[in-house]
């Protein structure tokens, strides 16, 4: 029982640590915004292609 709890705890710690390492790396190196910036031209193209009812 004790070893089971320990094993879960270890897995939990590893998961939290992994989550931290991955997200902190993304955070610190600004990878989230760098990736988003790559997508922007595609969105621009998408919005330009939409038909709109332009008038005053």
């Amino acid at each position: 029982m004790k070893s089971k709890v320990l094993s879960v705890l270890v897995k939990l710690v590893i998961a939290v640590l992994a989550f931290f390492v991955v997200t902190f790396t993304v955070y610190f190196f600004n990878l989230d915004m760098k990736a988003t910036a790559l997508l922007e031209p595609f969105f621009e193209k998408w919005y330009d292609g939409l038909e709109r009812k332009q008038y005053i």
Binding site: T36, E40, Q54
Partner: protein, 532 residues
């Protein structure tokens, strides 16, 4: 010329000493985030996670995905974390926490506003029952006339805030498209770009369409008033949404306009009742009035702290929170009370510990005029690069009078006058309109009160109310021995003045007139003209 005592920070800042290094001329975002020492970096990281969770919760709703692909301005919200980084350059300790607490809340509020827009939008969520209880208002609208409507029953939709105002803060280029559309249809390029962009959004059919009715007003300027006509025409004639024009007197310091303004508020309330089918509730109103007064007390306390040698409230994050609270909330939502309290506690703690946020405090500065949307981080930069402490900006210098908060027969009549007063004294227009005294004389009083030796004057080149007093500011500053540093910009069109062109006006003044060297040379020239 007036001088103030220079204060040297006895504590070396944790982490990064030259944050200018994290900018890149090859990327449209920063190379990496700022290293603020272990404690503050971890705090900043947790707030980043929180922001991602806010955005994540928003985008998992299918109608929001649909809205994202329908509206061009939604693209700006991809860059919310980048936008938040602009508000925290060089900040540590309490100031960092104040920036996050205030602006994270604003971001959550804007996200909620977008979600509400999409829910009722005829093209996206099309929740008709919800839309029938929505009232659209302008971006620069005091929502005092909604203070007595239960927020669960009637929904105030400041449609232009997420569409134009906030989105431009996250993405400096996003309104260029709408300005081009407006100008293509004949509006000249010399009017204020904000109402012009809003008119452009309407012409481009890029506003959400919802609501049982709309209330517009003339709270800011001639351009704003006139742009409303273009927007209202489409609302009324194409979408069948009736509009009410809430007239707000300009000479707000004259007692002989108050009754007119109060009557206009009454009419706006009747208009909302008629179109939403909901009734004005005095219990709801007076509860909101109490919150308005609490926010006012907090604001007065904030100003007092900033009048001391150890100011704690800096820059745009804080002023945008004040805008949101004063104007877009007007006491309607209880959540703001907790934030107000928390912000004040943080500031009091920082003040007690004599916390400083730059290597030196060389000058104490009042920021006057209207800030550009796309250089929203300028005040943090001013502090870090030159040691010029921004004590307050014009948009944060708003009403300090208490309003009636007890429900009595007399106070119900007084309430209309209170709402009218708040409406007339809306952010910005309380200084830009109402005669030269509130624009020019108020500035000198504030310099005296807050012991400022320098004024950074945002000269929004399309704002005629401000530029019309240019010479008076010059002459009167000279008479008073106060430095006045002119910084021209075009509010939300970076094609007219780039970010570095704006900063260079400060750099030139500090080097040539003040004969000073920057505190942090890495920030003097930042390659962010092409960044979002």
């Amino acid at each position: 010329m007036k001088t103030v005592e220079k204060i040297v920070n006895p504590v070396r800042r944790a982490g990064e000493q030259s944050p200018g290094k994290i900018y890149s001329d090859k990327l449209k975002v920063r190379r990496r985030r700022e290293w603020r020492g272990v404690k503050d970096t971890f705090y900043d990281y947790t707030r980043w996670l929180y922001l991602l969770s806010v955005l994540g919760r928003f985008i998992i709703v299918p109608r929001n995905v649909k809205g994202f692909f329908r509206y061009r301005w939604m693209m700006s919200y991809l860059f919310v974390p980048h936008g938040m980084d602009k508000f925290t350059i060089g900040l540590r300790d309490e100031a960092l926490r104040i920036a996050h607490t205030s602006f994270n809340f604003v971001i959550a509020d804007v996200t909620k506003a977008i979600g509400n827009c999409f829910r009722g939008d005829r093209r996206v969520g099309n929740d008709k029952a919800y839309s029938d209880k929505c009232v659209i208002t302008d971006e620069n609208s005091m929502v005092t006339f909604m203070m007595g409507f239960d927020t669960d029953k009637v929904h105030t939709i400041l449609r232009e805030v997420p569409t134009m105002f906030a989105s431009n803060i996250f993405h400096q280029f996003n309104v260029e498209h709408y300005l081009d559309i407006a100008q293509q249809y004949g509006i000249p390029g010399d009017v204020c770009p904000m109402p012009e962009a809003e008119a452009g959004i309407s012409i481009d059919d890029d506003f959400c369409v919802l609501g049982s009715c709309a209330v517009q007003n003339n709270t800011t300027c001639d351009g704003s008033l006139m742009g409303n006509g273009i927007i209202a025409k489409r609302l009324e004639r194409e979408y069948g949404i009736p509009t009410y024009q809430l007239a707000t007197p300009l000479r707000h310091k004259e007692p002989d306009v108050l009754e007119y303004a109060a009557e206009e508020i009454k009419k706006a309330i009747r208009f909302v009742e008629e179109h939403t089918g909901e009734k004005w509730d005095w219990d709801v109103y007076f509860a909101a009035a109490k919150r308005v007064n609490y926010a006012t007390k907090c604001r007065i306390a904030q100003m007092e702290i900033n009048s001391t040698p150890y100011p704690q409230f800096f820059g745009a994050a804080f002023s945008l929170y004040n805008d949101t609270n004063y104007m877009g909330n007007s006491g309607r939502m209880p959540e703001f009370v907790d934030i107000d309290r928390k912000l004040l506690e943080l500031a009091e703690k920082g003040y007690k510990e004599k916390r400083m946020y730059a290597k030196e405090y060389r000058h104490r500065c009042i920021i006057w005029g209207v800030q550009p949307q796309y250089v929203i981080d300028q005040l943090y930069w001013l502090l870090q690069c030159w040691g010029v402490v921004p004590l307050t900006d014009m948009l944060s210098v708003i009403n300090t009078d208490m309003i009636a908060e007890e429900d009595t027969p007399e106070n119900r009549e007084q309430a209309y006058r209170d709402m009218a007063m708040l409406n007339m004294e809306m952010i910005m227009r309380n200084h830009t309109h109402g005669g030269f005294k509130v624009l020019v004389d108020d500035l000198w009083e504030l310099c005296e009160k807050m012991n400022a030796d320098i004024v950074m004057m945002w000269e929004h080149m399309s704002c005629k109310a401000l530029t019309g007093m240019h010479g008076q500011f010059e002459e009167q500053a000279r008479e008073r021995g106060i430095h006045i540093m002119w910084v021209s910009h075009d509010l939300c069109d970076p094609r007219v003045f780039t970010r570095q062109a704006i900063r260079d006006q400060v750099n030139n003044y500090m080097r040539t007139v003040m004969r000073e060297e920057p505190l942090d040379p890495s920030l003097e020239i930042i390659p962010d003209n092409e960044a979002y």
